[in-house]
C-alpha cells in the first residue's frame, strides 16, 4: 500500500515513531507478541475470505439457460455482504490504478492533456447507468459461460461511479505540485519511475485518500443498481441479479418482508462504518505523513487500527519482503529515462507532431459524432427530440430547486460544524456514514409516503434527489480537521 518503502526503524526509538508509540522499542527487541498474532490472524482470514469469494465469482453461468437465484434467507446475508464489499474494493482498486495512469498522462503529456481532460469532464457528467448495457455486452462476450462476465460488468459500473473525482484530484495535485519540489526532483536526476513513486504519488496522497473515501460512498449509492443487471438474450432483456447485499435488499422488498429490508439496511450501516473504521480512518491517519506543510499538525488524525498495526512487526516484515521487488521495479524502469525534458526542442518537429495529433483527434471526433448521430437516428429517431429536450429542462429545473434548498439547509450546518473543532470531531464520522448511506434505499418508503399524502411525484422527486445528494455536500463543505483537498468532482 505504501508508495514509499516503509522504512521501519532498525534502531530502537526513532524520533519519528516514538511520538506515536513509546513502547515500540521494547517490543522491537522481542519475538512476536500477541499484537502480531492478532494482525497475522486478521491477514490470513481476509486472504482466505477473498480467495473463497473469488472462486464463487467465476461459477458457470450461461445467459438465457440458467439464472442466479437470490435467497432471502438471513443466514446468507454475511455472504452477500462480503460479495458486495469485495466488488466495491475491486472497483476501488481499479479506480486507483486508472487514476494513477490517466492522471499522470494528463499532467505530463502536453498533447494528451488537451484531449484527456475534456474527455474526463464528459465522462464524469454521464450518469453511470448508461455504461451498464455497454459493459455487459462487452464482458459477457469476453466470458461467455461464466458469471465472471456479469461480475466484471458490475465492477466496471461501480468503477465508473468512483474513478472520475479521484482522477481529477490526482491530476490537480500533479499540476499544483510546488515548483521547488519539481526542481529538486529534476536536479536530483530522478528517473521517471522514481519521480512518480517518490514525489508524484506521495504528494497527491492526502487528496487521493479523501477522494477514495468519497468514491466509496458514491459506490454504495449505486450498489443496488449495479447488482441488478439486464442480460440480453436474442434481443430480449432478461433481468438477472448478482449475489450481493443490494440484490438481497431488492429480493426482500419484492418478497414484501420489511424486517429483512431492515436487516439489510442494518448490515449496510455496519459495512459503511466498518470500512471507515478498518480501512479509511487508518488510511487518513497514515496519509497525514504526506502533508506538505512543514510544521507538525495541531491535531493529526488518529486511528486505533493504524496504531495497532504500527505496534506490530508484520507491516515491517512485509515491507522487507517486498523491498527486492521494489528494487527490481526501479531497475526495470530505468531505461525509460529521467523525469526531464529537453530545454531546446526541435520547433519544426514539435509543430509537425502537433499538426498530426490534431488531425487524428479531429478525424476520431468526427467519426464518433457521425456514428452517434446515425445510432440515435436509427434507434430513436430525431422526431422525439423536442420531447426529450423538454424532459431535460424539467430535470434541470428540479436540480436547480434542489440545489437552492440544499444550499439553504446545509451550508449553515456545514459552516457551524467547520467553525467548531469540537463539533466537527463528533460530526465528522456521522456525516461520513450519512454520506455513504445509500439514500436510494429510502426511495420505496418515501414514495409510499408521498402517495399517502397526495404530494405529486414531480415535487417528491426533488426531495428524493436532495436526500441523495445532501449528505455528500455536507461532508465536503465541512472542513475536516486534516486538510481534505476533496477536489470533489461529484
Amino acid at each position: 500500500m505504501a508508495p514509499v518503502e516503509v522504512e521501519a526503524s532498525r534502531r530502537g526509538g526513532s524520533t519519528a515513531d516514538s511520538r506515536f508509540l513509546p513502547i515500540r522499542p521494547v517490543l522491537r527487541g522481542r519475538k512476536l507478541s500477541w499484537v502480531d498474532l492478532v494482525v497475522a490472524v486478521g491477514v490470513v482470514v481476509v486472504l482466505y475470505v477473498v480467495v473463497r469469494l473469488g472462486r464463487s465469482m467465476a461459477i458457470n453461468f450461461t445467459p438465457g439457460r440458467s439464472t442466479i437465484t437470490i435467497s432471502t434467507n438471513l443466514a446468507d446475508v454475511p455472504y452477500y455482504a462480503a460479495r458486495s464489499l469485495l466488488r466495491m474494493f475491486l472497483a476501488l482498486g481499479l479506480s486507483f490504478v486508472f487514476t494513477l495512469v490517466y492522471g499522470t498522462a494528463a499532467a505530463r503529456m502536453r498533447r494528451a492533456r488537451k484531449v484527456l481532460i475534456p474527455v474526463l469532464d464528459i465522462l464524469q457528467s454521464i450518469p453511470i447507468l448508461v455504461f451498464l448495457p455497454i459493459a455487459l455486452t462487452f464482458f459477457i462476450k469476453l466470458f461467455p459461460n461464466s458469471v465472471l462476465g456479469l461480475e466484471l460488468a458490475s465492477i466496471f459500473v461501480i468503477f465508473t461511479s468512483q474513478a472520475w473525482n479521484m482522477t481529477f484530484s490526482f491530476y490537480h495535485s500533479l499540476v499544483a505540485q510546488p515548483s521547488e519540489l519539481d526542481e529538486a526532483a529534476r536536479m536530483s536526476r530522478l528517473t521517471k519511475w522514481q519521480r512518480f513513486w517518490k514525489l508524484d504519488v506521495p504528494s497527491s496522497m492526502i487528496g487521493l485518500v479523501w477522494n477514495m473515501m468519497m468514491s466509496m460512498g458514491g459506490g454504495w449509492f449505486f450498489l443496488t443498481a449495479s447488482e441488478a443487471v439486464t442480460v440480453f438474450v436474442h434481443g430480449k432483456g432478461v433481468p438477472e441479479s448478482l449475489p450481493g447485499i443490494g440484490s438481497y435488499m431488492a429480493a426482500a422488498v419484492a418478497a414484501g418482508s420489511y424486517s429483512k429490508v431492515g436487516v439489510a439496511i442494518g448490515v449496510m450501516v455496519i459495512l459503511v462504518v466498518g470500512t471507515n473504521f478498518f480501512v479509511f480512518r487508518p488510511l487518513v491517519a497514515w496519509a497525514d505523513k504526506f502533508r506538505m506543510e512543514s510544521s507538525e499538525s495541531g491535531d493529526p488524525p488518529k486511528s486505533v487500527v493504524l496504531n495497532f498495526l504500527r505496534r506490530s512487526s508484520i507491516p515491517h516484515i512485509a515491507g522487507t519482503a517486498v523491498r527486492p521487488a521494489g528494487r527490481a521495479l526501479d531497475r526495470a524502469t530505468r531505461p525509460f529515462g529521467l523525469a526531464e525534458y529537453p530545454l531546446h526542442g526541435n520547433v519544426r518537429r514539435r509543430r509537425t507532431g502537433d499538426l498530426v495529433f490534431w488531425v487524428v483527434v479531429l478525424v476520431i471526433s468526427a467519426a464518433v459524432v457521425v456514428i452517434g448521430v446515425r445510432y440515435l437516428n436509427s434507434h430513436l429517431g430525431f422526431g422525439r427530440f423536442p420531447e426529450l429536450v423538454g424532459e431535460g429542462f424539467a430535470t434541470f429545473a428540479r436540480v436547480v430547486v434542489l440545489l437552492v434548498i440544499s444550499t439553504l439547509i446545509w451550508v449553515p450546518i456545514g459552516v457551524k460544524i467547520g467553525m467548531s473543532p469540537k463539533l466537527s470531531r463528533y460530526a465528522q464520522p456521522v456525516v461520513q456514514v450519512l454520506a455513504s448511506f445509500p439514500a436510494i434505499l429510502l426511495f420505496p418508503f418515501a414514495t409510499l409516503v408521498f402517495i399517502d399524502l397526495g404530494i405529486p411525484l414531480d415535487i417528491g422527486a426533488i426531495v428524493l434527489m436532495m436526500l441523495e445528494r445532501s449528505g455528500t455536500s455536507c461532508s465536503t463543505s465541512s472542513p475536516a480537521p486534516a486538510p481534505s483537498p476533496t477536489t470533489c468532482a461529484r
Binding site: 522504512e7 524520533t15 526542481e183 536530483s188 522514481q194 506538505m292 530545454l343
Partner: protein, 449 residues
C-alpha cells in the same frame, strides 16, 4: 565529462560552467516579451566561490535556474564543461532557499534520493549517505522527518542531499535567507570549513544572495546585478584571506563600496533611470515605485535624524539587523520623494525630510502628497488621469493594463498596491476594493474653485 576541449582562460583555472550572452524574457499578459535577464556572460571556474548579488527584480534566481539547466534561456548559451545544456545540468547540485525536502522521507531517505537516482547500490548508498550526514552535522537525526527539524537543521539536510552526490559545482539559491541570523552565520562558517578541506570533492560554488555581507564573507568573485532587466553591473574580485572578519577595515571597505554601487546610479548606456533625484519626466514604467510603506519611510527618517541626520548605510543596516532587500527600498523611496539624499554609501536626510518628520499629521500628509504627486511617476499619472475624468474615478484595470506593458502581472499589481498606499496616505485618491475604482479625493480649496 572530459575537459579536453576547454581552452584555458585568463585565470588559468578550468571553467566548469560558462554563461555567454544569456537573455531571458517571459511573455507578459498582453503578449509582449518582458525581459528578465539581459545579455549575461560569466563563468564559474575550478577552485572559486562566486556570488551573484542583486536586489529583488535583478533576475538572479532566474539566472541560477538557467545555469542549473532547469529553464532554457531565451537566447545565449550555458555550457557545462564545454557541453551546451539541454536539461538539468549534470555536474551540479542545488541548495534551495525553501529547502525543498520531501516531507514524507526521513533525513536519510532524503539524502539517499540523489544516490538512488544515480543507481548506486543500496549498501554503498547507505554508507555514503551516513558519511554526508555526519559531515554536515546531522548525526542522530537520520530517522527524523523534515517537519520535526528546525530551519537550520532542514537546510543541513538540503546541503547533505546536494553534497552526497559529490557535484563538481554547488549552486545555492539564497540558502541562508530563510534562517535566523545566528543559524545562518553558523552554517556559513561550516560551509567554508568544508570548502577548505583538501578532499572536498566539489570544485566550485555559486551562491545567489541579496545580502552584501554574505557575498563578501564567502565569495572570491562577486557579480553585482542590476534590476529591470537583470544584467551584470560590475564584477568585483575579493581576495581577502579566510576566515574573513566583519570588522576588518578592508572587509568594511568592500561592503561600503558595494553599497555605493547598489544605491548609486545604474549606468546602463540607454538608461534614463533616475539618479540622485528623479527626473520629473520619468514614467511609471522606467521609474517603478520602491516597495516601501509610508510608515517604513518615516521610521527610517526618524532613525536618521536621531543619528544626527546622516549615516553610513552598511552601518545603519547592521544596527537595524536589516538586509539590503529590506533597507534599500526604504532608502530608494525616500530618495525618490526627495526626502533623503544618498551619496556613496551614506544617506542624509533632506530638508523636506526633516519637515516631513517634524510636522503634525495633517502637514506631513500635505508634504507627502505634494512630493508624491511631483516625483513618483505612477502617483502623478494616476492623479492626472483622474483629473481628466468627469467624476474623478477610473478603474484600477486601466492602470494595470498600462503597467503590464513593462511589468509582469505580479509586479504590476505590486506597483498599484504601493501607489494606492501612497495615494491614500497623501489623501490624493482613494480606492474601493469592491468595485476596483480609484477615486480622486477633492480637497476643500479645489472644491471651492
Amino acid at each position: 565529462m572530459t575537459s579536453a576541449a576547454n581552452s584555458p582562460n585568463k585565470s588559468g583555472a578550468e571553467p566548469i560552467i560558462e554563461v555567454s550572452h544569456v537573455t531571458k524574457s517571459f511573455v507578459s499578459p498582453d503578449g509582449s516579451p518582458l525581459a528578465v535577464l539581459d545579455d549575461i556572460s560569466l563563468d564559474l571556474r575550478e577552485g572559486e566561490i562566486v556570488a551573484l548579488l542583486g536586489r529583488s527584480g535583478s533576475g538572479k534566481s532566474t539566472l541560477l535556474r538557467c545555469i542549473a539547466g532547469l529553464i532554457a534561456p531565451t537566447s545565449g548559451i550555458v555550457r557545462y564543461r564545454g557541453q551546451t545544456l539541454n536539461g538539468a545540468n549534470p555536474g551540479v547540485a542545488m541548495v534551495f532557499q525553501s529547502f525543498a525536502l520531501l516531507p514524507w522521507l526521513t533525513v536519510r531517505q532524503n539524502v539517499e534520493l540523489g544516490l538512488e537516482a544515480l543507481g548506486v547500490p543500496p549498501a554503498d548508498r547507505r554508507s555514503r549517505a551516513e558519511r554526508a550526514i555526519d559531515t554536515i552535522g546531522l548525526d542522530g537525526f537520520e530517522l527524523a522527518y523534515p517537519r520535526e527539524l528546525s530551519g537550520g537543521m532542514r537546510q543541513r539536510v538540503g546541503f547533505a542531499r546536494a553534497l552526497v552526490v559529490e557535484p563538481e559545482a554547488l549552486l545555492m539559491d539564497e540558502p541562508f535567507s530563510a534562517l535566523d541570523v545566528l543559524t545562518a552565520q553558523n552554517l556559513r562558517a561550516e560551509l567554508l570549513r568544508l570548502w577548505q578541506e583538501k578532499d572536498f570533492p566539489t570544485k566550485a560554488m555559486l551562491i545567489v544572495t541579496h545580502n552584501i555581507e554574505e557575498a563578501v564573507l564567502l565569495a572570491d568573485r562577486i557579480f553585482v546585478l542590476g534590476a529591470n532587466p537583470g544584467r551584470i553591473r560590475t564584477e568585483i574580485d575579493c581576495h581577502l584571506p579566510h576566515p574573513r572578519a566583519r570588522h576588518d577595515e578592508s572587509f568594511q571597505g568592500l561592503v561600503d563600496h558595494i553599497y555605493t554601487l547598489m544605491t548609486g546610479p545604474d549606468t546602463r548606456p540607454p538608461a534614463h533611470i533616475w539618479t540622485a533625484a528623479p527626473a520629473p519626466e520619468g514614467t511609471p514604467i522606467d521609474t517603478p515605485l520602491p516597495q516601501a510603506t509610508v510608515g517604513g519611510m518615516s521610521g527610517l527618517l526618524e532613525i536618521l535624524i536621531a543619528h544626527g541626520g546622516r549615516d553610513d548605510l552598511p552601518q545603519l543596516a547592521h544596527t537595524l539587523t536589516f538586509e539590503v532587500d529590506d533597507l534599500l527600498p526604504l532608502v530608494d523611496a525616500a530618495q525618490l520623494l526627495g526626502l533623503a539624499e544618498v551619496q556613496d554609501a551614506d544617506i542624509q536626510v533632506a530638508e523636506d525630510g526633516r519637515k516631513f518628520v517634524a510636522a503634525n499629521i495633517v502637514e506631513s500628509k500635505m508634504i507627502f502628497a505634494e512630493r508624491a504627486r511631483e516625483r513618483a511617476p505612477l502617483v502623478r499619472a494616476i492623479c492626472q488621469s483622474l483629473l481628466t475624468t468627469k467624476d474623478g474615478t477610473l478603474s484600477e484595470e486601466f492602470f494595470l493594463d498600462l503597467l503590464r506593458r513593462g511589468f509582469s502581472e505580479e509586479e504590476a499589481r505590486e506597483q498599484m498596491r504601493i501607489a494606492i498606499d501612497w495615494g491614500r496616505f497623501g489623501e490624493l485618491f482613494d480606492f474601493d476594493a469592491n468595485t476596483g475604482q480609484l477615486k480622486l479625493e477633492r480637497r476643500d480649496e479645489e472644491l471651492a474653485s
